[in-house]
């Protein structure tokens, strides 16, 4: 069945790419069954809230040689972090680099708290990321692309359109052209990262956008980028920009 779907894909092939028009964009939420949606809608049913609570505790915990907690500089996250996750990845003009939210947290950890950086996909980093992201829930994604960042956005867009892996598929083939069709019995979503970090039923745990992208790359039998690789941040930048205006759902539940 998967082979049939893939043959269909290859036959259709990726000629011109059509991004979903702004009005036609739909969150992965809309492609889920009612049971999974209910999990996301109710904080008392969403397992991701376990991580959000941990994140809240970490926010207030003193760390590193500085003995400072996030709260000591940033105060109440509900105020200071409102809208922050909706703006990441962001171009840091001082560092001349594109930075995603996890990298920003680790930059604060090392530079301001004098504490060791959190490992990628560690429980602490995911908890903080979920907690910070939660403060933007319901807000529209708003990604700025200053002139210097334009080439980085284009690099992300090119990666999205490039065939890769043994299956020789580009993201756009499934997620632009065939969104709404079925693969292995499940509907193909448009791939808007509106709710990261997500509680993915497949993982039975919380994970970042990079983890999910690694799954995609393994899915087409491509060598996934390493966590934190610039290629990943560029792709995240493009995906969030592509989803601009859509509402943040963090922490979302997905199959």
């Amino acid at each position: 069945m998967i082979l049939r779907a893939l043959v269909l894909l290859l036959v259709l092939c990726a000629a011109a790419r059509a991004e979903p028009p702004p009005a036609g964009r739909r969150s992965g939420y809309e492609f889920m069954g009612p049971g999974t949606r209910a999990m996301q809608d109710d904080d008392a049913s969403n397992p991701a809230m376990l991580w959000v609570l941990d994140g809240e505790a970490l926010w207030r915990a003193r760390a590193g040689a500085s003995g400072k907690a996030c709260a000591d500089c940033h105060g109440d996250a509900a105020t200071s972090m409102k809208g922050v996750a909706a703006r990441y990845p962001a171009y840091d003009s001082a560092r001349k680099a594109l930075i995603d939210l996890d990298q920003r947290v680790n930059l604060c950890r090392t530079a301001q708290q004098n504490a060791p950086a959190f490992e990628p996909e560690s429980r602490e980093l995911l908890a903080l990321s979920a907690f910070i992201g939660r403060q933007s829930r319901g807000m529209p994604i708003d990604i700025a692309v200053p002139g210097e960042a334009q080439p980085l956005l284009e690099a992300g867009r090119a990666a999205f359109g490039r065939r890769q892996g043994q299956l020789n598929l580009a993201c756009t083939q499934c997620h632009d052209r065939l969104a709404g069709e079925k693969l292995a019995g499940n509907p193909i979503p448009q791939a808007h990262p509106t709710g990261y970090p997500i509680y993915r039923l497949e993982w039975q745990g919380l994970g970042s956008l990079q983890r999910r992208l690694r799954n995609c790359m393994i899915g087409v039998r491509a060598e996934p980028y390493a966590y934190g690789a610039p290629e990943f941040v560029e792709l995240e930048y493009y995906l969030m920009w592509r989803a601009r205006g859509m509402k943040v759902e963090t922490p979302a539940v997905r199959p």
Binding site: M1, I2, L3, M32, G33, P34, G35, T36, A38, M39, L183, A184, G185, N186, I188, L201, E202, W203, Q204, R214, N215, C216, I218, G219, R221, P255
Partner: protein
């Protein structure tokens, strides 16, 4: 046409000595251990689970049993079974008149398409049941090469 799932299941069964499926009689034995062989007709019990499961790792499952839940007439226990899971027992809940309603919801793992069974044990010693056939789909794009 042989489905990919059927082929993989056959290949796995041929190759792997350890079965990831309960033996065919395991669920019947588990039910018999509770009922002692007494009948458990369909009725009074409603097993709520989606017929098409998007991810077998976490499926919302609920059971409701019609009962006044009084001292003399209530549901003592509700058991749920998956005959084709590695173990047939999924969950058992124990209630009493203080429950108010004989109902619960949880999230379970369903290993493969099968017919799930819910069994209710009443205070008068009788058993009632319900069953639902479910189809489990595979998640695309995971961490393993499937």
């Amino acid at each position: 046409m042989i489905t990919r799932r059927a082929f993989l299941a056959a290949a796995a069964a041929a190759a792997a000595p350890a079965a990831l499926q309960a033996t065919p009689g395991a669920m019947s034995e588990a039910i018999r251990a509770l009922t002692g062989g007494a009948p458990a007709p369909r009725g009074r019990v409603k097993l709520d689970v989606p017929e098409l499961i998007e991810n077998g790792n976490s499926v919302v499952l609920g059971v409701t049993v019609e009962s006044p839940m009084t001292e003399i007439d209530h549901v003592r226990a509700i058991h749920v079974f998956a005959p084709l899971n590695p173990l047939p027992n999924m969950i058992s809940v124990y209630l009493g008149p203080r429950a108010g309603r004989a109902r619960f919801t949880t999230r379970v793992r369903v290993a493969d398409s099968q017919t799930l069974v819910a069994l209710a044990q009443l205070s008068d010693g009788s058993f009632w049941s319900d069953q639902v056939s479910v189809v489990v789909t595979l998640a695309a794009c995971t961490e393993e090469v499937k």
